[in-house]
Symmetry: C2
Subunit: 116 residues, 2 copies
C-alpha cells in the first residue's frame, strides 16, 4: 500500500479487474501500518496481481485500488489465510466504515506529461 515511487498503476489492456477499497479509519495506528506493509508485499506473490494504488487524505478517507488480471487472482487473494486474518483484525480494530467494489475494467487510458 505504498505509492511505489509515486506513479499510478498504468492502464492495462482490458479486461482486467479493479478492487476498490474505500475506508475511514479508527483513531491511531494500532498496528495498521505494519500489517498494511506486510499485505502489500504478500499480494505481489499472487499470480495475476497487476499493481496497487493508495491515497489517504489526512483525517479523511483512504482509497486503495488493487488491479488483478482475472477473478481467479482476486479469489486467491481473498482466501489467503494471512489476508483473511488481517481483514478480521481490520473490522475489529482499524476501520469505522468501508466500502468494497469489485469491478471489471472495460476501458482504460493513461496520460503522461511531455517534458522538453
Amino acid at each position: 500500500m505504498s505509492n511505489q515511487g509515486i506513479a499510478p498503476v498504468a492502464a492495462h489492456q482490458p479486461p482486467y479487474y479493479a478492487v476498490v477499497f474505500t475506508s475511514l479509519r479508527t483513531e491511531g495506528d494500532n498496528g495498521y501500518g505494519e500489517t498494511a506493509e506486510r499485505m502489500g508485499e504478500l499480494v505481489k506473490e499472487i499470480p495475476g496481481f497487476l499493481g496497487e494504488d493508495y491515497a489517504r487524505t489526512p483525517g479523511g478517507l483512504g482509497i486503495s485500488v488493487a488491479y488483478f488480471r482475472d477473478e481467479a487472482a482476486i479469489e486467491e487473494w481473498r482466501n489467503h489465510l494471512e489476508h483473511r486474518a488481517a481483514k478480521r483484525h481490520g473490522r475489529d480494530h482499524w476501520f469505522e466504515r468501508y466500502s468494497i467494489h469489485i469491478s471489471k475494467v472495460e476501458h482504460s487510458h493513461g496520460f503522461e506529461r511531455a517534458h522538453q
Copy 2:
C-alpha cells in the same frame, strides 16, 4: 471531490459503474481546487450519478472514484462541455500523469462499526 462528511460512497446493488481516476499533480494549485469543486457540483446533475470518493496523500497520489448507474451516465458526463474543457486544462496544467479505469462493478459490500 470533497469527502462529503467523511463517509465512503455506500456499496450499491450491482451492476453499476466505477470510474477510477488516479493522478499525480504538478506543483501548486494553479486553479485546480476551484475547478475540482465546480466539477464536483456539476457531476451531481448527471442522471445516474451515484456519488464520488476522493483521497489524496500529501505530496503523493490522488485517487477519485465516481460511481454511475450505467454507461449512458458516464457518457453524458464524459461529453459535458464544461467537463471537457476542464479535462483539457488538466492535461495542459494540472497533471504530471494519470490513469483512468472505467469498470463495471460486479460485487460490492460495506462495513460499518457497531457502536454501543
